[in-house]
């Protein structure tokens, strides 16, 4: 997710989160296993989002028995911390097919610390409350706790950025320009 945003530093970008969702007693447990980068630049148009959602959902189901459990979004401006219209639209589309989707919004202020391997969260988790997407909180009537696993991820990310692997990230947009490019990015995290 961070590498996708690093590749497109001056644009907003988004993607889908693939994983599992289970109920354990009163707790709804969502485990994000993978992220699929979707688009960068102008994000507001529906058709290719629908194509991407269908293909990623199919792949998740067939390959790994998983589903699309959420999405991520990086705003264009460094000082923009809001869940804007485009982030909301993709999150709502995912929520229609998921029990309780999550939206991870990139923390633009901390974004530049990724190269230093910061252990501070670079994304903030949001869940739907009524009509709005609100930042996850462990308090309130529907507490939400978000954890980053494994704890070695920040160090690995810093190494990847140092090697400039992020410049080779392929998103669904790139794939639509050239179908030989793989939006699963198998060689990036190999």
């Amino acid at each position: 997710m961070v590498m996708h945003a690093k590749k497109h530093v001056h644009e907003e970008c988004n993607g889908l989160l693939v994983g599992t969702a289970t109920d354990r007693g009163e707790t709804h447990h969502v485990c994000v296993e993978d992220a699929v980068p979707l688009f960068h630049g102008s994000l507001g148009l529906a058709p290719m989002v629908e194509v991407a959602l269908a293909q990623v959902a199919h792949h998740a189901r067939k390959k790994k028995g998983m589903l699309v459990v959420g999405c991520y979004h990086a705003n264009e401006r460094a000082d923009d911390t809001a869940v804007g219209l485009q982030a909301k639209r993709l999150a709502d589309a995912v929520q229609r097919n998921a029990t309780r989707a999550c939206l991870l919004l990139l923390d633009n202020a901390r974004f530049h610390q990724a190269e230093a391997g910061t252990s501070e969260p670079l994304f903030h988790c949001h869940t739907k409350d009524g009509n709005k997407w609100k930042r996850a909180s462990t308090e309130g009537s529907q507490p939400v706790e978000a954890k980053l696993v494994p704890s070695t991820s920040p160090g690995v990310l810093a190494e990847y950025l140092k090697e400039r692997r992020h410049l080779r990230i392929v998103d669904f947009d790139d794939h639509l320009d050239d179908p030989s490019k793989d939006w699963l990015n198998p060689e990036i995290t190999a």
């Binding site: 001056h10 058709p47 179908p179």
Partner: protein, 268 residues
């Protein structure tokens, strides 16, 4: 290398910043005199893009020393102020330039960019419209305005902008496809039927290679096939079938990583 990037008109700020820094630090030794100022301008903008304030400041200072009364350099100073978050000072700078030269199109565009930097999209839209009133044939500005409208969910207004672009440049497939995307997003049988036509033109102009437009045809025809109060046309089924076949042919030929199976399953 920086000259190649300039001539190609592409935005490769990271690359320009990395190599531009070296050029700027050795300016008298490695860059011909007649190119030096172009390089300084180019590197200053790339540095602003990458958040390299010291490099940007150095380039702008050097340019100001060489051209103290230049409007072009003054605009760069305004952009540096934007980068530093000093938006009011940047706006003052641009306003002074516009008093001297009210139709300075680069600075008029900067007013739109400044509003965007401040997160004020309605003001950016107004600035863009003001610019287009004086420069109605600027295709890129119409596209910028279309994107601003789309970002606000104002697809009807975005569609109008694309119609202006199509009048200016009727043979660009990407414009037909983007107009179709906006019509699809607006929704409704009439818009979907029109989107189908514009996706078809996009495919024609791209010799059948525009994958997005091919998918667009499949999406439109699928929705129209089950739409209420819509008289289906026979050719819509044919279009769907032809487009699906072309998509699958493209994937068979170019995709070695298993996406063909996913696409086949989703299209069926």
């Amino acid at each position: 290398m920086t000259e190649q990037v300039r001539n190609a008109g592409v935005r490769q700020s990271g690359f320009v910043c990395q190599y531009g820094r070296m050029l700027v630090e050795q300016s008298s030794k490695s860059v011909p005199k007649d190119e030096l100022y172009d390089v300084l301008e180019q590197v200053s903008i790339a540095a602003m893009d990458c958040g390299e304030e010291d490099l940007a400041r150095r380039c702008v200072n050097d340019l100001e020393k060489a051209f103290p009364k230049s409007i072009r350099v003054s605009r760069l100073r305004g952009m540096l102020l934007e980068m530093q978050g000093k938006f009011e000072l940047a706006e003052e700078k641009y306003s002074i330039i516009l008093e001297r030269d009210p139709q300075n199109h680069r600075v008029m565009k900067r007013m739109c960019g400044l509003a965007k930097s401040r997160g004020n999209v309605p003001a950016a839209i107004s600035a863009c419209i003001a610019y287009l009133k004086l420069n109605a044939v600027d295709r890129d500005a119409w596209e910028e305005l279309a994107d601003l409208y789309v970002s606000q969910g104002m697809c009807k207004q975005a569609a109008f902008c694309m119609e202006e672009i199509l009048l200016l440049d009727p043979f660009v497939g990407a414009s037909h496809r983007k107009y179709a995307d906006i019509l699809y997003t607006l929704g409704g049988n009439e818009n979907l039927a029109m989107a189908l036509q514009y996706y078809s033109s996009a495919i024609k102009f791209s010799n059948g290679k525009d994958l997005r437009a091919l998918y667009g045809i499949c999406l439109c025809s699928t929705h129209l096939a089950t739409a209420k109060a819509y008289v289906k046309k026979k050719e819509e089924d044919e279009l769907h079938s032809l487009s699906s076949d072309l998509i699958l042919k493209m994937y068979r030929a170019r995709n070695k990583n298993g996406k063909h199976e996913i696409v086949k399953a989703v299209l069926s």
